[in-house]
């Protein structure tokens, strides 16, 4: 098993206005592995990333870096870096690329040059004197990755790193991330709403719904043999040109309001297999073998 770098235990975030964005999330990130966190918009997956990056304080729960409680933020962020979803928003428009890349090198007293960072993300060195608006989306996201690499982190939190990019260049960025992971032996958290890309890119996949992780396990297992009804719905809904024309229509319903989530299982109002118990009691994590688990009453017996 690869070394555990970052561990989250029971992370919970409630916002002041009462939104319960993240509820009791536990995660483990290992060196050299990509962990995917999949969910719809509003499921709380981005909040998890910000919690792990310590950009927002957690309401409860703890984060362990290499098994220890992390110290000062600067030390912490040297090990844990984040890549944001929108490369058009995550680079300050008023700074040249050189500034954006030099700053983290200075902050973390790294000896590399910004040129080396650009090279690592396969961009030419003459990009240093350009402004973000002169770059395409894919190039920007590469710059953002280079910035994250400047600190020589061991963990990379990638929050939907390709969802804002054009389809044709998404692969390039994902492949770059994978290469870097291999080369630098990084632990990567890959957050996405596209479960198909999690299958391709991530070793492990966790599925979030309504602020909670509902299923987790090996990516291939989770995508090919989804256990939780929500994961099943997610996979059934994904666009699929090979899909038989006579598939069952998708059930109607809305994602839960995080302000006042339903009691019990948060998916229960939309769940075609919900039992009265699902409405009242939160389901436990039920292990399905090989590290595959689901938080669903359907698998209670398996646990027992």
């Amino acid at each position: 098993m690869n070394e555990v770098v970052l561990e989250a235990r029971g992370l919970t975030k409630h916002y002041r206005r009462g939104a319960r964005a993240v509820e009791d999330v536990s995660l483990v990130l290992r060196r050299g592995r990509v962990t995917a966190l999949v969910g719809e918009s509003g499921s709380g997956k981005s909040t998890v990333a910000k919690l792990l990056a310590r950009l927002v304080p957690a309401t409860s729960g703890e984060i362990l870096l290499r098994g220890e409680k992390p110290g000062r933020f600067r030390e912490y962020c040297r090990s844990v870096q984040m890549i944001f979803q929108d490369p058009f928003a995550s680079l300050n428009p008023v700074h040249r690329i050189r500034y954006t890349l030099t700053r983290p090198l200075k902050i973390h007293r790294r000896s590399e040059t910004p040129e080396q960072l650009l090279e690592a993300v396969q961009l030419p060195a003459d990009f240093l004197d350009r402004y973000p608006h002169e770059l395409s989306g894919g190039q920007r996201q590469r710059v953002a990755i280079a910035r994250a690499l400047a600190a020589q982190p061991s963990v990379l939190l990638a929050d939907e790193p390709v969802s804002m990019l054009d389809v044709s260049i998404r692969l390039g960025v994902l492949n770059l991330l994978r290469d870097l992971k291999e080369r630098l032996h990084l632990a990567v958290l890959y957050i996405t709403h596209d479960i198909a890309s999690a299958r391709y890119f991530a070793d492990e996949t966790f599925v979030m719904y309504g602020g909670q992780v509902v299923e987790g396990g090996d990516s291939e297992t989770v995508t090919q043999h989804p256990a939780h009804p929500y994961t099943q719905l997610l996979i059934a809904s994904a666009p699929d040109p090979d899909r038989p024309a006579t598939s069952t229509p998708t059930p109607l319903g809305e994602p839960p309001s995080l302000g006042s989530p339903p009691d019990g299982c948060r998916f229960s109002p939309r769940c075609p297999q919900a039992t009265p118990r699902c409405w009242t009691d939160a389901p436990p994590r039920c292990s399905l073998g090989d590290g595959h688990w689901a938080a669903c009453w359907l698998y209670e017996e398996v646990v027992a």
Partner: protein
């Protein structure tokens, strides 16, 4: 039989040419998919057809034939009566497409007020309820304001509004990009049911080609302001001919079946300010030849159902 015929449409955006000499035909009752990446001109094309392109967009050439009229030659007042009554649009990003300070009812009723002035108020209201019901929203949502609705509900309201006058054509511009996959499927499936029931034609614009393959009858793929390939959805999916179309199809990871290797397309989509000479795709094309850098291929039929704009095809055709 075609309901809409676009011929030689060119659109400038300031000094940039965003749509380049496009021909397109929409058959009655079909779903025509319009695919392409950002800057490919797919949305510009759709808005230009209805002359809704905001400034500084200017239409430079072409005709858009609908029921014997050329939409581009109509006086504003004539065009106004055609709009929505005949051609409705479902916009992307439903958050901004609904007037934030007006209730759902007001915005629905506006349509009747403009196009069915003689319709009694009670009938209008009844129709509004019916429409909401049609798209699966409880009619008591009529008094809601847009911000009180979820993204999916807003998009459904937009669809209800688009269908209010039972138009001939519905243009759907990335109707589901802001929504997650479950909601996306719900809405598209519903739309297709309604189309089957009401019989309108759809122009479906999206960058998600796998979605298009699943939901449309015919697909036109745009690149840098031009249509590069046009073919029935399934045949395009099985065997795309234009290298760009092939690359695009190869960029989507498959959820089912074996893990195919993904190819993707190298390079970046073209910047309209610096369009490459010749075939605009040639810098990213693995099969590029000398001719590709010099001359721009035109869209030409390669078989009964398919047209492609690529020198490879032209050569093939010439060879046979």
């Amino acid at each position: 039989m075609s309901v809409l015929e676009v011929r030689g449409l060119s659109v400038d955006y300031g000094t940039l040419r965003a749509v380049h000499d496009v021909d397109l035909t929409l058959e009655r009752g079909e779903v025509l998919g319009l695919a392409g990446e950002s800057g490919s001109g797919k949305s510009t094309l759709a808005y230009a057809m209805t002359r809704l392109l905001p400034p500084p967009g200017v239409i430079r050439s072409g005709t858009v034939r609908y029921k014997g009229f050329d939409l581009l030659s109509l006086a504003p007042e004539q065009l106004r009566t055609l709009r929505w009554n005949d051609i409705a649009i479902v916009f992307q990003g439903a958050m901004n497409a609904l007037n934030p300070v007006a209730s759902v009812a007001t915005q629905l009723l506006d349509v009747f007020r403009a196009h069915r002035p003689s319709m009694p108020r009670a009938a209008r209201l009844a129709r509004c309820r019916e429409l909401l019901h049609l798209v699966g929203i409880s009619p008591d949502r009529l008094d809601s304001y847009p911000h009180q609705l979820s993204g999916g509900m807003r998009q459904r309201v937009m669809i209800a509004m688009a269908l209010a006058l039972e138009p001939e054509i519905v243009i759907m511009d990335e109707p589901t990009t802001a929504l997650d996959v479950v909601m996306q499927r719900q809405i598209l499936e519903q739309m297709m049911e309604l189309r089957a029931a009401l019989g309108f034609s759809v122009v479906f614009i999206t960058h998600d080609i796998s979605l298009l393959v699943e939901f449309s009858d015919r697909i036109a793929i745009m690149y840098s302001g031009r249509v590069v390939e046009e073919a029935p959805a399934q045949s395009l999916y099985r065997a795309a001919r234009h290298p760009y179309a092939t690359g695009l199809l190869g960029s989507f990871p498959a959820l089912r079946g074996p893990r195919r290797p993904l190819r993707g397309i190298p390079g970046s989509p073209p910047d309209l300010r610096h369009v490459p000479s010749g075939c605009p795709f040639h810098p990213r094309c693995a099969s590029a030849m000398d001719v590709c850098t010099a001359r721009t291929p035109v869209l030409a039929p390669v078989d009964q159902h398919r047209s492609v704009a690529c020198w490879l095809e032209h050569e093939n055709r010439g060879a046979t």
